[in-house]
């Protein structure tokens, strides 16, 4: 078995419902832009499409800055609009 570096992807709340899963790992050896990440996420889970405009991405527990890349072995989370309190 080859030990690939993986992006760990976490789906929360409505994103989890639309994806049908709370967590995945994607094997990748190169950094991903947010656009490339979304292309793969929507390929895997087309039902996420209507949620995309309202979902923010977090990288290692911090909201992703514009232009920032996702690295292999990062933890990436899909954060739908929050509703705590």
């Amino acid at each position: 078995m080859i030990d690939f570096p993986c992006v760990r992807v976490l789906y929360f709340a409505t994103a989890r419902t639309a994806a049908g899963t709370g967590e995945e790992t994607w094997a990748t050896t190169s950094p991903l832009s947010a656009e490339a990440f979304w292309a793969e996420a929507l390929r895997r889970h087309p039902d996420l499409t209507p949620h995309r405009p309202s979902i923010r991405l977090a990288r290692n527990e911090v909201y992703l800055n514009p232009g920032e890349l996702l690295q292999p072995e990062d933890e990436v989370a899909l954060i739908p609009p929050v509703s705590g309190g």
Binding site: A13, A58, E61, A77, P80, V82, S83, G84, G85
Partner: protein, 129 residues
């Protein structure tokens, strides 16, 4: 500034504990308790269910407490949020802010609640009938 964040899957401690004696140089304590109402979008419910991205919620809430203390100097601020099912009438969130004078504590508490509802990854994901 002393800051604390706790995410709990049990009843939030009674206010007598949350309301521990303030520091002797604090003259104002503002507390906010958000409780579950008996209906959601007009439908009667018995509980709301909360979910969080726990480590990020901890981190973002703590950073928010520290950030707001720059604009509104307070001595101490702590936030507790309950996760899982929270029955009607029970507290989902409790915020406690201590400051020397009341204006800072009120401004801090109101601003924290606004930002919590924008940035802290906690969700209402459903309800129980």
């Amino acid at each position: 500034m002393h800051a604390e964040v706790e995410l709990l899957r049990q009843e939030l401690e009674p206010l007598i504990l949350a309301g521990a004696p303030p520091r002797p140089d604090s003259g104002a304590v503002v507390e906010f308790t958000g409780t579950v109402r008996d209906s959601e979008n007009g439908t009667p419910i018995s509980a709301l269910i909360y979910e969080a991205y726990e480590p990020m919620a901890q981190r973002v809430a703590l950073a928010l407490l520290q950030e707001l203390a720059q604009a509104h100097p307070v001595r101490a601020a702590s936030m507790r949020h309950r996760l899982g099912p929270v029955p009607v009438g029970a507290a989902a969130i409790h915020l406690r802010v201590e400051s020397a004078h009341r204006a800072e504590a009120f401004a801090f508490a109101a601003a924290f609640m606004d930002r919590l509802k924008q940035d802290v990854p906690i969700w209402k994901t459903g309800s129980l009938p």
